[in-house]
């Protein structure tokens, strides 16, 4: 009986991530990560945006998209997205680190000299 139990457990483990929408989510997310790692940020952004459009509460896609925004220089949008993802993920420690770093960057950016105003 024990042997059967172990077998069932292992089979469930194997197929748990490969069923239906779970498989799609995994593939799309990880494809985005691969693309980002190779520097194809627009491709990664497209994947994660699509995931977020399908599930607006997907904090994984939200966090990854926020990283994309930071890469593009959209610091304000990134911080907003990190905050939302942190709330939905129930204080995921990695999202928290990302948010802290992004906020630190935003504050240092504010100290920098302001652009010279155009003369009227």
């Amino acid at each position: 009986m024990k042997r059967y139990l172990i077998l069932i457990f292992l089979l469930t483990l194997l197929f748990s991530g490969c069923t239906g929408s779970g498989k799609y989510l995994k593939q799309a997310t990880n494809f985005g990560i691969k693309a980002a790692k190779k520097g194809y940020w627009s491709e990664a952004k497209f994947r994660w945006e699509r995931l977020l459009a399908e599930d607006p509460n997907d904090f994984v896609a939200m966090n990854n998209l926020a990283v994309c925004y930071e890469q593009e220089g959209k610091f304000e949008d990134a911080v907003e997205l990190y905050k939302k993802a942190l709330e939905l993920s129930d204080n995921n420690k990695y999202i928290k680190i990302n948010l802290q770093r992004a906020e630190l960057l935003r504050t240092t950016k504010e100290i920098e000299p302001q652009p010279v105003e155009e003369n009227k």
Partner: protein, 237 residues
Amino acid sequence: MKKIIIPLMLIVTYFIFSSCIHTELIYIKLRKDPRIKVKPNSTLVINNFWSSYDEKDSTFRPEKEISQKFRDIIEREQVFKVLDRKSYDGIERIIKNAEEEKAISVISYLEKQNPDWRFLTNDEPCDYLMLGETSFEVLDGSGYEYRRVYDPFSRSYKYKEVFVKQQIFNIQVKLVLIDIKNNKKIYEDTYNDSKKESTEDSSNLEQFLRLSEYSVERFLLSLKPEEEIQYRYLLGR
């Protein structure tokens, strides 16, 4: 009992592992705004540089050469259109006063006298004005040094005391950029450098020009967007 436990275990395992996330560390290049933002194709006038008051060395004053060198470098970069200096009677008067009063720094003196830099903005047909100040000294750095020499008789290296004639060049360049139309100081940087050189290599002027170059390069760098490498966590499933 077993009939209930087995499906329950399956369901729990499924939910635990299907929602499991992993993390990937990624390095991102963040583009930061330049330290100084200037309008494209704006005009600049480089005022002749001043040297800080120094009683000991009043003969060697490379200010004109340094300002010309800076002008050449800035023109080469084509960030500004560099114009010739028009009239700076106001400045000249203040400099004269500064020298009479033996002020340590002419720029600080200028700023103290006119905190809003308004005296510069009256009749100047340019967007920005660069003011510079150099402080320099040549020290005798000659002395004995231990050098590793090869001794062919014993076929080994030995240390020998050798007298080396050298000079130590110290330079400080203070650069200020003033936005003429808004009466604002938008850049200030003080650059220090020191170099020990053999006296036969080149003249004092060449040494100072070479040493001062990096200060204007730092200024030009601050006009360009910066890149910063940071790491973030990407979440995977």
